[in-house]
Symmetry: C2
Subunit: 571 residues, 2 copies
């Protein structure tokens, strides 16, 4: 209910049946920010949280004490993206608060209490991905995030700090870090906090247990000796210490100090009744089947191959363009099209041009912008893996599943490739073409490639595919190599594909979500898979439990003065 | 409701308030089996499922088509334990069905539809642990489980097969393996099926997706080429092939062909109003605090040190006795005492005798029985890790937390150790004593020891503790070494401990479950942690979703002729 009545920062659009619905828009820009202040000094950027109390995405709650809702996080995500692309000179980003005595008090509880289950889950997923992208910048972009906690950091506030690489806590006798969700709200810290405490910062499990049950949190020397923060400093020295640390990290950065950034201009997007269209990505809905076709088209012309020309193209550089468009499309579909349970990926255009675009990335890895584009592509494909929608990829004549776009085949829950051609269609039969980019630069969040995940116990099959790098592979061979699930001919194609999509629409979306989340991530586990698998699954469960969300549950009663009434049975 | 009205295989006992309650008893023996037939031929045992339709643990459902409830699984667990201990000669166990044309159709759906959420979750946990113990026998006991699927194996039936090391499927044109939970019931295969398909058998994720949505499952050559089974054989050759494979595996076993088994005589257990008492383990309830004290006492006399004497003691050998008693106590508490949210572990007795018992295990690892006892201890401690109760360990004067019992400190969510002595108590101050057994033989289900999990990024701390092997460590030193959470003196002790327990009782049990499950398993992930973390958490979530358990949900409508009515929103 709340989700569908959100009226802030929204675009109206018409849908079949002429119902007026409201849309959450994930695109923004710094001039439109309500909640963050971005400033720059030499190679250090400061991202200061200053949440406007009356600036919530929906009416019904005040964003007090730097608490946040999805709108605040949409701005944060935008800022992180711009810091990477528009600011090559920035080596360190300091996250802090522009408010006195409060750093951030986490996700807004009233908002959570009023939100639908689907919105809570989707909100947590996006905030998790945003924090993962902070860690990705630190680890892979030469842009290290550090955190200056200049007041109370509670719940999601401390979880935001946990996503950074160095946490400085003001030592003023009152400011503390805390994860009070369990004792106060009967839910979990929903943005990776539990996992990061024990698995990233290696806080001892018994210390973590104590910390996560302490409403008031922890401060002073114990917060350092328990590894919850990296250092504490008195108020008088906070600014100097932060500047010093920020400079230290910036000096280690390999980002160019004097390069020109790539401006993230607004996307060219058209939303109509049954379609969303970007320059290279288009969505076509079939609401009866609960399905959207997501088509990605190849470059229209040969992409540039040298760094200067790539920079000159900027956001128009094809890999960058499709990453941005697909990113926006995914977020749009997740938030605004929850009844569309099946995403069907297709491609169209010239595979040679896709291969040339991939080559532009692979041949210029030393360039900061090319590196950023590749990392962005990686993050966008990762979003697909953790999306709770069934993913089906169709490979037909006219498609261009080469290299980077082949990842859409490997990311699918299943794929269908037409063997031969359709009657009356004089285009050549469909092929797929492995590329060097499939063997490393685009890992899943389990830390290995989609091919490695696919053939966990059969590395020789990966070598068979590597031997075909650059070759056009027909349906029968693709099936033999294990690249596609089924390769029906034109007689069976329509029935098989239609039945698969209809069948998907007939299943419980919840059981599909649990099944897909379990089957997609074989092999090693990482911080990210633990957050999206274990932690999110437990949180989703708790978000359904009466002790949290029932009328007498803690989330519902928070702020009412009434204590929650718990069913004490353990399950 | 169902859980508390179970009337089969139960013992009546009185509880405070004089309410009559019914108890699920996990102890049984082959003469009492209703559902399994155990037979022996040379070094091969056959465990044939033959579920009695009217033999359900509770009235209200018929166990048709070899479907199972907890009662069937209690017998299976008992059989597995006896095969390990009473039958040293057995190198291979063949799981099959005694019925015509059906192997096993999985967990009984009517039973699931009528069960409480807590019962469903607890049932799945026990069945998961039982299947893990099958894999433990195969991997570590020289007792390989194989499966002869002589008819349809659906859902939990196929999951039982997945726990074995070699799956033979009859090729009769109709018998198939299937995981139809998603399409038929809107839940997940709840006993590790999804995880084992992709992570144990390495079925390709897209094949797994297809398989898990096929109501009718898969048979014939495709079931082999997709790795769902290891071989298919015509009906006429099934018996010969099974015998041949069983003999092959048995011939590789290192178990002694002519040793005498250790008889698993009934436990000496007394259940009263507020206590459960075994020979070495005793439970004392404080129902107001939602707490049980679980005390384990040291051996009364010096344990035997040589193999012959250990065998002569049999089930009375102290490590074996406490493993059995603790195992039964854990299962009893989980199933019958769901409102007891906090388990407080204590010990009493002479640490030297505990150390001597550990030495008896460590000095005789070549002996099959000693190996089994050590593996059993490992499995029992693992049960604690995955139990959804808060675990607190108290270390006081008179305790004996040495070696194996020190694991109870390391398994705790937090621990308290008294510094000094209590006024008027002339016993010496409490100590803990690390032993060699803490550094390897008792890993958690993440595959590493509790000490390794505790000090993930600080291996040097493990070496500091190893240097203290055999030494009595006082509270202050134990705190410095990171072995205990807090070391209050006698002035603070009572308040600190009481507050911790009271506080625990005031929190939502659900959020505690999610928090504890997230904090206990830092570090690597295994098949087991994936099953208990990711898969179980998703299943628990789905077990709360209206699409499964609502009045119009699939579990409720199964068998009624009505189709489930789904809310198609993805979350």
């Amino acid at each position: 209910m709340v989700l569908q009545s959100w009226i802030n920062r929204v675009t109206l659009f018409l849908r079949k049946g002429a119902a007026l619905l409201l849309m959450i828009d994930f695109s923004t820009n710094p001039t439109a920010y309500k909640h963050w202040k971005l400033s720059f000094e030499d190679r250090v950027a400061t991202l200061a949280m200053d949440v406007r109390e009356d600036g919530g995405l929906v009416p019904g709650y005040d964003l007090k004490l730097n608490s946040y809702d999805l709108g605040v996080d949409i701005e944060l995500y935008d800022a992180i993206q711009r810091l990477r692309f528009e600011h090559p000179e920035i080596g360190t980003v300091v996250i802090t608060s522009a408010k006195e005595r409060v750093f951030c008090s986490g996700a807004n509880i009233t908002m959570l209490g009023k939100s639908s289950h689907a919105h809570k889950v989707n909100f947590c997923k996006f905030t998790n991905e945003t924090r993962n992208s902070i860690e990705d910048a630190t680890e892979n972009s030469g842009q290290t995030y550090i955190c200056a906690i200049n007041g109370t950091a509670a719940g999601g506030g401390y979880e935001l700090a946990l996503a950074t690489d160095h946490i400085i806590l003001i030592d003023d006798g009152s400011s503390a870090v805390s994860l009070p969700e369990v004792p106060l709200l009967a839910v979990l810290p929903g943005t990776g906090g539990l996992t990061r405490v024990v698995d990233k910062r290696h806080v001892r499990r018994d210390h973590a247990d104590v910390f996560c049950t302490l409403t008031e949190g922890m401060r002073g020397k114990r917060s350092v000796s328990w590894k919850l923060v990296d250092e504490i400093v008195p108020r008088s020295k906070l600014d100097d210490t932060v500047r010093e640390r920020a400079t230290e990290f910036a000096n280690k950065s390999d980002r160019p100090a004097n390069a020109k950034g790539i401006k993230l201009t607004p996307l060219n997007r058209t939303i109509s009744d049954d379609a969303v269209t970007y320059d290279h990505v288009s969505l076509q809905f079939d609401r009866d089947l609960g399905m959207v076709k997501i088509n990605i088209s190849a470059p229209d012309e040969t992409p540039p191959s040298d760094v200067a020309a790539i920079h000159a193209q900027g956001v128009a550089f094809w890999p960058m363009a499709i990453a941005r468009e697909l990113d926006d499309a995914i977020l749009h579909l997740r938030a605004n099209e929850t009844e569309i349970g099946t995403w069907v990926f297709t491609t169209s255009g010239d595979a040679n041009l896709v291969e040339a675009a991939d080559a532009a990335l692979l041949d210029n890895t030393a360039d900061w912008f090319v590196r950023e584009v590749t990392l962005f592509l990686k993050r966008v494909f990762k979003r697909i893996d953790v999306t709770s929608r069934s993913i089906i990829t169709l490979i037909e004549p006219g498609s261009c599943f080469a290299g980077s776009l082949l990842e859409l085949v490997l990311a699918a829950d299943r794929s269908y490739m037409l063997a031969g051609t359709f009657e009356g269609d004089n285009r050549p039969e469909a092929t797929v073409r492995p590329g060097t980019i499939n063997f490393g630069p685009l890992p899943m969040c389990n830390g290995i490639t989609r091919l490695e995940t696919r053939f966990l116990s059969e590395p020789e099959k990966i070598e068979d595919i590597r031997a075909e790098t650059g070759n056009d592979i027909d349906a029968e061979t693709a099936e033999d190599l294990g690249l596609v699930t089924f390769a029906p001919d034109d007689i069976d194609w329509e029935d098989e594909v239609r039945l698969a999509i209809e069948e998907r629409a007939s299943f419980s979306p919840d059981s599909l979500t649990g099944m897909e989340a379990s089957l997609r991530f074989a092999g090693p586990e990482t911080l990210e898979t633990k957050i999206f698998g274990r932690l999110s699954a437990w949180q989703n469960w708790i978000f359904q439990r009466p002790n949290a969300v029932g009328d007498e549950g803690a989330l519902k009663r928070f702020g009412t003065g009434l204590k929650a009434d718990f069913d004490n049975n353990r399950v």
